[in-house]
């Protein structure tokens, strides 16, 4: 797969034309919902004339279609946002454009980023880059597949509970979920505000670090952004690494476990120590997540009312009917499940038993991570219990689909940075990723460790 540096010596127009051609050649995967061809070519010509310069001058990329970006409608892969031409761009997109990067299209996702397979897109699923019969993973499936197919050298995604890491694992690319608050979420469709993060897919750790360095930083338009801390690093001393025992049980696919153990051996061979660690609270993390996140979804998605923007049902007589029918027709079934679960756990009589209990459990989870980080620099484990599953395999059973997130949600609940890095293939030829988890604000450190391990 190509690196960002492979694009630097070409004309920007050539890079963009090549990326657009690759997008067309790979339409069967349905990674992209739209192309921003006209705007991309205009920007490419401006780069070639020297009017735009920077660390990503002339480098094409795609955004998950829940980022507000010019050149094509923003859909969040749902009908609810029908006809939404963004009047502004996300801060992350603006920062990349300021460095000369060129957005060539918008990538498919589970509608409103609700899902783990990209099958919940209102416009049809994205197919896995290694097997057309299998899912891309999700919710940032289109971005992962566009990177894996070499359409672009990097692609933006959002990760609320694994939506970058899991599709990265399923498609054999790097996925970065940063520390909560690293990158501004201004101009990105909100899902669950206490865990939503913005990150990137790339073909190697060095490129991922460059993209994160550009996007990171305090933004007055997102008051949850942290004061600037991200500094790319290459200096890695011998690390003390914990391999999480709870994720290596017999429930986890044998080839996934073997790949994780093989990565641990590579870490040891590189001079690091790896020991088994235990975090008993992890067995409750998915339950916490599927209370807290739907609660926040029900609140964040209340804004889609069919009035100010997006889809409006036809032939409505009253305001209540306008809200009710627009939302029913505009949202997917999975959107509705999550909104209604959120309404349930927040309603009086259930609030303490569900929502408050989950937020208290979250404190215990954070304390257990902190206890381990007193001894260990980095924690590792699988990204997902299986490689990419078959299309429709979990579609009928939402709980079985949620279980695909079981290893990625815990760092999200604690705001920790976590990477998915390629760690081999199954006998059938499907990629497997390993997850590297660090303390808050150690994002660059994790990326440096991943870079050190590449090619070993």
């Amino acid at each position: 797969m190509a690196r960002i540096s492979d694009y630097r010596d070409n004309s920007a127009r050539k890079n963009v034309e090549r990326a657009l051609a690759a997008a067309h050649e790979n339409e069967i995967y349905h990674a992209l919902l739209s192309l921003t061809k006209e705007r991309a070519l205009e920007r490419a010509d401006a780069v070639d004339r020297g009017e735009i310069t920077g660390r990503l001058a002339g480098v094409p990329f795609v955004v998950k279609d829940n980022f507000l970006a010019f050149g094509a409608p923003t859909t969040a892969a749902g009908r609810m946002l029908e006809g939404f031409d963004a009047p502004l761009q996300a801060t992350a997109v603006e920062k990349l454009e300021a460095e000369g990067a060129i957005c060539i299209g918008k990538a498919n996702l589970d509608a409103f980023a609700h899902g783990g397979s990209t099958e919940n897109s209102a416009f049809g699923p994205t197919k896995n880059a290694y097997d057309l019969q299998r899912v891309a993973g999700g919710s940032s499936g289109g971005s992962a597949v566009a990177t894996a197919l070499d359409i672009v050298p990097f692609a933006l995604g959002t990760d609320t509970g694994g939506s970058i890491r899991q599709p990265a694992s399923f498609n054999g690319v790097i996925g970065v979920k940063p520390t909560y608050g690293t990158v501004s979420r201004y101009g990105v469709v909100a899902m669950a505000s206490s865990t939503d993060t913005i990150g990137t897919f790339a073909t190697n750790a060095e490129d991922a670090a460059l993209v994160m360095d550009i996007m990171a930083g305090r933004d007055v338009r997102d008051m949850t952004t942290l004061p600037d801390f991200f500094t790319p690093t290459v200096d890695i001393k011998s690390q003390k690494i914990g391999i999480i025992k709870e994720y290596m049980s017999d429930d986890v696919d044998i080839e996934v476990r073997e790949s994780t153990l093989a990565y641990a051996d590579k870490l040891r061979a590189a001079g690091h120590t790896v020991e088994e660690v235990s975090m008993p609270i992890l067995r409750y993390a998915l339950a916490m997540y599927y209370i807290i996140v739907p609660a926040e979804i029900s609140s964040n998605l209340a804004r889609y009312d069919g009035i100010r923007y997006g889809y409006r049902a036809e032939g409505v007589k009253t305001l209540a009917e306008l809200y009710g029918r627009s939302r029913d027709e505009g949202f997917t079934t999975e959107n509705k499940r999550r909104i209604m679960i959120g309404s349930y756990v927040l309603s009086s009589g259930f609030f303490d038993a569900y929502y408050q209990q989950a937020q208290r459990a979250r404190t215990i989870l954070i304390d257990e991570y902190n206890r381990l980080f007193e001894t260990y620099d980095v924690l590792i484990g699988p990204v997902a219990p299986t490689p990419a599953f078959k299309l429709d395999e979990h579609a009928a059973d939402p709980v079985s689909m949620y279980l695909a997130d079981i290893m990625t949600v815990p760092p999200s609940l604690a705001g920790l940075p976590a990477l998915s890095v390629p760690a081999g293939m199954t006998g059938e030829g499907l990629p497997i990723g390993v997850q590297l988890i660090g303390q808050q604000k150690t994002d660059a450190h994790l990326l440096a460790l991943a870079a050190q391990m590449e090619g070993r």
């Binding site: 206490s194 949850t224 409750y284 339950a287 499940r337 209990q357 808050q440």
Partner: protein, 96 residues
């Protein structure tokens, strides 16, 4: 295990401003029962005396001066996003 009734589904739909169709109600009743059945295991966990965590990086209120700032987005652009407009306003069905 919590059993969600058809009336519960209709109540949740009302709280959520979702006017469900009949064939959606049955499948959502089953899905919501199953999902709550899964998350209910959290009730086993002893959290007595534990403070809840709502925000994970320790940031509290961030203040700014209360000054009017000019946006790059115009009134016309925002109005153009509305499904129906009239007389420089967003049009909705009669409320009263």
């Amino acid at each position: 295990m919590t059993q969600i009734s058809r009336d519960d589904v209709l109540h949740l739909a009302q709280l959520s401003s979702l006017q469900l169709t009949d064939d959606e109600i049955n499948s959502l009743q089953q899905d919501i029962t199953n999902i709550l059945g899964y998350v209910e295991q959290l009730s086993e966990l002893d959290t007595a005396g534990v403070e809840p965590t709502y925000q994970v990086t320790g940031l509290t209120n961030i203040w700014r001066d209360d000054v009017v700032d000019q946006s790059d987005v115009t009134r016309e652009q925002l109005l153009a996003l509305a499904p129906e407009q009239q007389d420089n306003s967003v049009k909705v069905p009669k409320v009263l």
